[in-house]
């Protein structure tokens, strides 16, 4: 890639004292060499970044009108919806923005699993990603409590109550609540965390991208680039591709925000919180349903461990296990394209997660309970048994000799010829 040489004197003056322009150029400009064969599944990382920015901006503006008090929170949100100019727009963008953030990050994560992006040398990049997911969950959970509707309140109560499964549980829960039940202090601390965590996420995203840039993106064939002919500069190729992806994303997002803004939400959250009336169905937001299904599928004590405690452990374990994936999957081949068995098991696992989502939306009674139990077992079985076994027994397909080979069907000489053109432009 070419050195960054600005011609504009102002930029040169600044660059000499603070090399910020070359920093940007190396991050997302022509100074960042990227594999030439990335497909559209590689768009989701930058989409996640933009989703995060949208959430932070709308969130800050909402905070200017929101009142974090148990007696006024619900009404202050309705005031935003009715009396604040474009308040309804801000709130619907923020609400649905969270859902879209999760959709995008889940796809991003599935992409990583399918193409084996977590393998050496990107283990830490992957683990930072899982950390981001955990932070996102904490942010989404605290945020959902703020409008102080029936589910806001009861979700907070049910989830914090999980800690009673641990030793000294009652004490822990009282400490979390700031009182003897979910109340105004709880709402206040959730608000404090909800405002804080997105900025922690921003910080961790920087580490994520830092780690990414150490070795650059992986790619759909999963072999490392072995020369400049395998790479193209990020700008303009991927900037324009990411922008196009963003256009598609925003169109779908706008369709939801403007025409079905409450589709992904639960109606009963439009009823103000009432500690005396327990809703018939307490369900979390859709993006937590698989975990909720796992939590509720444990209905029996094992030895001295209560069902509740096992459920809580498995629920957290279902995300934490992702940290171990680089070591559970020891296959030398990254991409599922060359792993005929793993490919199948990957899609079965995706289906399994879909089943868990569906079960999580239903009451834990037969047949949902049994389906949920089978799906929960499979979820862990996939990681703990299938992945290690595949690493040993799977007959993998031969890998192409270079990234260029499958892309430029001609191979060798013509690949070098075709690649040299854009390189000169860069």
């Amino acid at each position: 890639m070419s050195e960054f040489k600005p011609t504009n004197p102002v930029i040169r003056w600044i660059e000499h004292r603070l090399p910020i322009f070359s920093f940007i150029d190396h991050a997302v400009g022509s100074g960042y060499p990227t594999p030439r064969n990335l497909n559209y599944w590689w768009n989701y990382g930058s989409l996640a970044g933009i989703a995060l920015v949208i959430l932070i901006i709308t969130g800050i503006v909402l905070a200017m009108q929101y009142t974090p008090h148990a007696d006024y929170a619900f009404d202050s949100v309705e005031r935003i919806m009715r009396d604040v100019n474009y308040g309804w727009l801000l709130r619907y963008i923020h609400m649905n923005g969270a859902s879209f953030f999760f959709i995008v990050v889940y796809i991003h994560l599935f992409r990583g699993l399918y193409y084996g992006s977590y393998k050496e040398p990107r283990e830490l990049l992957w683990m930072i990603g899982v950390t981001l997911l955990l932070l996102m969950m904490a942010t989404a959970f605290t945020g959902y409590v703020l409008p102080w509707g029936q589910l806001s309140y009861w979700a907070a109560r049910v989830i914090t109550n999980m800690f009673t499964a641990f030793p000294f549980g009652e004490t822990i829960v009282t400490w979390l609540w700031g009182g003897y039940t979910v109340g105004n202090p709880t709402l206040n601390r959730f608000y404090a965390f909800h405002y804080l965590l997105p900025f922690v996420i921003v910080g961790v995203v920087f580490m994520h991208i830092w780690a990414l840039h150490r070795f650059g993106s992986s790619n759909p064939v999963g072999i490392e680039a072995d020369g400049p002919q395998d790479k193209i500069p990020f700008h303009p190729y991927y900037t324009v591709k990411d922008l196009f992806g963003l256009g598609v994303y925003l169109t779908l997002f706008a369709a939801l925000v403007f025409f079905a803004p409450n589709m992904l939400g639960e109606t009963i959250n439009y009823v103000e919180a009432d500690p005396l009336v327990t809703p018939a169905h307490i369900v979390p937001e859709w993006y937590f349903l698989p975990y909720y299904a796992i939590l509720r599928s444990v209905t029996f004590d094992i030895w001295f461990l209560s069902a509740k405690l096992i459920g809580v452990i498995l629920m957290f374990g279902s995300t934490l296990i992702l940290f171990l994936v680089p070591w559970l999957d020891r296959s030398p081949v990254r991409s599922a394209r060359f792993r005929p068995w793993y490919k199948w098991f990957f899609w079965i696992w995706v289906f399994d997660v879909a089943v868990l989502t569906w079960v999580g939306a239903n009451l834990p009674v037969p047949p949902y309970l049994y389906i949920g139990q089978v799906a929960s077992v499979w979820y862990f079985f996939h990681f703990l048994v299938i992945l290690p076994l595949l690493s040993i027994f799977e007959p993998t397909k031969p890998l192409p000799s270079s990234i260029g080979e499958p892309v430029l069907k001609g191979g060798g000489a013509s690949a070098a010829g075709a690649a040299s053109k854009p390189m000169e432009k860069a």
Binding site: R36, D75, E78, M81, R82, W88, L89, Y92, I232, P236, Y237, V240, K241, L243, F244, G247, V248, L250, T251, A254, A255, V257, F258, F259, P261, N262, L264, T267, I268, Y270, V271, A280, H281, V283, W286, L289, W347, V350, F351, A354, V355, T357, W358, A361, N362, L363, V407, L408, A418, A419, K421, P422, K425
Partner: protein, 252 residues
């Protein structure tokens, strides 16, 4: 790719089932509202009649605490009409310079006064059940407008073997069927100013049209803006696609 679409379909089918399961009772029949669909808008005449139904029937028991008289502008009323409607109500204000609370006629900035001083009083007057506030009702129940319409028109004699207490009524659509709300609407419960015959069906759909607006007053603006935004984004994305093709053309 195909597999992914299938997986996505499964997830969505799951979510769908999730919303449906809350209504283990009879599903309310889907109706075609003026406000449903991408281009749907509120029907002013129906909302005005619905306001009348609310004021003359429902307001005896249900509050509408998020709506101020000034908001009625959206129903097509002029300033004078709104002032006149507000003035028909008595609101408690104060304290005055002597420190006393006092009563005065309503002003456009006031909200609809609630029929009961507090939930306890409401429960006491309704055999222990509190009539919920109606401002957000259409957004607060699965089935929305269809459900509330079905509820208002869904009173039937209880099936054999179902014992009702005096204060209960049997409703096809209320969760569990036994409701503390006696059938609120009966033929000609109101006399419409525009000569529309006040059938139960008509009053129910009018009051639902009104309540759909109280729940989501910004809907018309939202949809109008949405159409423009989507059109813009489609063109914008199309242009970006063309640019992307052009930039990448040299590579393949």
């Amino acid at each position: 790719m195909k597999k992914l679409i299938i997986a996505a379909a499964v997830v969505f089918a799951g979510l769908q089932a999730g919303t449906a399961r809350a209504a283990e009772d009879t599903d309310p029949p889907a109706r075609d509202w003026s406000f449903s669909g991408v281009f749907g808008q509120y029907d002013r005449a129906a909302m005005q009649r619905g306001l009348q139904v609310y004021r003359e029937v429902c307001a005896g028991c249900h509050s509408l605490r998020l709506i101020a008289f000034r908001n009625l502008e959206a129903l097509g009323y002029g300033e004078d009409e709104i002032e006149a409607i507000a003035a028909e109500y008595t609101v408690v204000d104060g304290p005055d310079d002597e420190g006393e609370m006092f009563e005065r006629p309503g002003l456009p900035a006031d909200r609809f006064p609630s029929p009961f001083a507090n939930p306890k009083a409401a429960a006491a007057a309704n055999n222990g059940a509190v009539p919920p506030d109606l401002s957000l009702m259409i957004k607060a129940r699965d089935g929305g407008a269809d459900y509330v319409h079905a509820l208002l028109t869904g009173y039937v004699d209880p099936p054999d073997g179902v014992e009702l207490l005096d204060v209960q009524s049997y409703n096809l659509y209320f969760p569990g069927h036994l409701t503390a709300m006696a059938p609120p609407l009966s033929e000609d419960a109101v006399a419409y100013g525009d000569g529309t015959p006040a059938t139960v069906e008509r009053m129910a759909s009018d009051v639902v049209s009104f309540l759909a607006w109280t729940a989501e007053p910004a809907m018309e603006e939202r949809k109008r803006m949405g159409i423009k935004v989507i059109l813009f984004l489609l063109v914008f994305t199309g242009v970006l696609y063309a640019v992307k093709r052009k930039v990448w053309a040299g590579l393949h």
